[in-house]
Symmetry: C2
Subunit: 131 residues, 2 copies
């Protein structure tokens, strides 16, 4: 199977698959006599795994660790769970931060007339001297 078909089946752009190979996230694919990358079904499984993990926000490094665990028959599920928990914590931090920023900005937006005049509580807030 060539990369285009693998891209379709895995949900990842061909470009991205090559990129993953270039950074060592996946093993280099075999090649046809013409130099085209040749894939098998198990490669698609791996790429789908990666795609799922990435879609849940895991970093490439984390995905790499997850791939290792996936292939480790002696893994402890505790290791996977721990990795996942840490990721959820990280997402929680980001959610909290975003909500805080959104809240502050929304308050300012509510106070802004939003008309043709220059007076603007948003600008004023950014420009004010001290907290």
């Amino acid at each position: 199977m060539k990369i285009g078909q693998v891209a379709t089946k895995s949900g990842l752009p061909a470009k991205t698959i090559r990129y993953y190979e270039s950074i060592g996230l996946i093993d280099p694919a075999g090649r046809t006599s013409a130099g085209y990358r040749a894939y098998e079904d198990k490669d698609i499984q791996t790429l789908r795994f990666i795609q799922r993990a990435r879609s849940l926000g895991f970093s490439i490094n984390e995905v790499s660790a997850l791939l290792t665990l996936w292939n480790d028959r002696n893994r402890a599920s505790a290791q996977v769970k721990e990795l996942a928990k840490r990721h959820v914590e990280e997402m929680d931090r980001k959610i909290t931060e975003l909500q805080s920023m959104k809240s502050t900005l929304s308050d300012l937006i509510d106070k802004c007339q939003g008309d043709h005049r220059p007076d603007c509580p948003i600008i004023d807030n950014f420009a004010k001297k001290k907290l």
Copy 2:
């Protein structure tokens, strides 16, 4: 005033101030005879403005637009409000996405025993053939 003091007063690392100058977000600072950047109080105001806007998640480009609006006596507050609203929408999108990812992953975590055995619903989910 030299860059170190400005860094302290503005809440931005000296390195970042130089970076902002290099990309044209702020005007090049004056120089002392020794070649050191020389700042005035109004520069600190500008940098604090930038710091505030950045801390609310606005991109450098958006901050640049906000700076222009700040210095535009003929601005309409509607312009500022619109920019801010779009940014809130963007944050909302991110929050929703993060919450969705978190929710999915949390469900999987709850199902995982987290012990010494390899069986793991998280890995299983990532590895499963089809949705």
